[in-house]
Homo-oligomer: 305 residues x 2
Amino acid sequence: MIRPMARTNTRFVEAYNELLNLCDQLEVGAYLPSENALSAQLGVSRTVIRSALTRLDDCSIIALDGREKILRRHSNAEDRLEGPPVLLGIEELESRFLDWVLRMDVPPGTVLNVAQLSKDFSVATHTLQEFFSSLSRFGIVVRRPRGGWVLLGFTKNYAVELSDFRTVLELNSVRHLAALPLDHEIWARLDSLEQEHLDLLQRIDKDFHDFSPLDEKFHAVINSVVVNRFVKEFQKIISLVFHYHFQWNKTHERERNEDAIREHLALIEALRSRDADKAEAAARRHLATSKQTLLSSLETNSHAT
Amino acid sequence: MIRPMARTNTRFVEAYNELLNLCDQLEVGAYLPSENALSAQLGVSRTVIRSALTRLDDCSIIALDGREKILRRHSNAEDRLEGPPVLLGIEELESRFLDWVLRMDVPPGTVLNVAQLSKDFSVATHTLQEFFSSLSRFGIVVRRPRGGWVLLGFTKNYAVELSDFRTVLELNSVRHLAALPLDHEIWARLDSLEQEHLDLLQRIDKDFHDFSPLDEKFHAVINSVVVNRFVKEFQKIISLVFHYHFQWNKTHERERNEDAIREHLALIEALRSRDADKAEAAARRHLATSKQTLLSSLETNSHAT
DNA sequence: TAAGCTGTCTTTAATAATAATAAACATATT
DNA sequence: AATATGTTTATTATTATTAAAGACAGCTTA
């Protein structure tokens, strides 16, 4: 009779195999460490260690009697246990899901089938539920009145509001940055960033694809001067949305990227002058361009309303 | 044998009782409407209607034969079904949870016991899970490596970062507002707000408790000029945190509130001059005071680190 | 015969039951 | 006294199951 396996025994299996390794390093006849020591060493609870020891005893690998754990033989390939398929955690899910939505161009209003998606992404259904719940904070999905989820974004409105929000946050970062003292490490980082931009500009005709990661890095550095968990959280979504769309929009890609590089350089220049107004103006220019790029990339795809 | 009730049959029970009402309004011997009609009328699926009709037949309230549904008798009290206890949805949970954390002064680092809390709040455990997942976006809770949740906020750091974030958003709103044309409806709303502030100032000695809702209203109006879903989402948390703490901090409450009213009035005045710099300065002053109030209210409570 | 109805079946989400794990407590051994 | 094991309890993650919704096809009646 197959009993329902309520919770995966991954921890047990891994601990058991690890114990086999440990045993193989000992002489036959040697004593194993205490349960407490083993549990500390393998980083699992004593409960898991005890189950594993019991099984080792059942397989005659050790002789278990009270606190005596005598090694009787070394292990062979058959002794190894195979764990259940590993499910993804909620962190890996995030980028895979947004990737799916943005790349597959899933239209707004799509009803999200939790059962199906959990298979596709190889996660537990409740993991998806939790994930959707957290995404609902960003208005990407909404819960339907009696169960189920609907994909809301990414509409044109969403893009506009996201861009505006990004602008608010990033202008704040820029103003902070311009006020930092000259011995702050940020200036060295900006110098190095500037060099990378100049390098890419040299070989823009063939390497224009390299701009996307550089853009991500650039904005990350700018925003790094503001230490704020809310800013950080939003940066994740902003970065994902902007850069996925960036990668798609193939119209005038070389020119767009070249223009963006020049805007970045202008911003670096303005920041270095430590003139807040000048820096803000340069940042505004670039963010406006970015917004336009995002909007036009949505328009080339059909269902942005 | 009691079978496990996987999903609550609230919908069935409610539909059944509703059907009883409907039957009681008919003469004995009358025909009931079609399943489709009933399902449309009661707003439930035909599946539920069919189960209910079958039960009505079993109880000899109707005679069910194909599409003939003849009423045989009126219902009595015993026929009524009692549903399972109603669980709260995730929306009600939000304010109740934050209320609990803030009022009960749950210390940061507390491990949140989902099983226990789900009883206390009378919600399903998975509802809590989802809720925590969404709260984790705001860094109020974090998931522990192997299951479970820990309450993070509200530490001093959290308060500082929340205040700073609030300042960024609200200064943006203020700059927007100052640029709005004179015929915009916002000016009338500000006039009325100003009057409410002046009124309260008159009777501040006895009614200083009335300030908290007025403060909430004031900031809501200021921020209403920016239409942005991300701003709105944050306003919810900001408003909750600030106003709960506001209500606790009893030290110099009258003076604090009077000062805050004067700062509000100064901001309204500055906004009306439509001088962005002046308005920004006034807003900064008030937000700084607000931040200090929040911090001091955390310090009076023991465990802000 | 067309419109509407019911019978049947499929799909999906919400919940309870359950196994895995962690942790606390009690007892035994060195 | 310190550390080990034995036992019990609490809690989470996952599965199995049920309620509900919806789709489809065949029947009935006007």
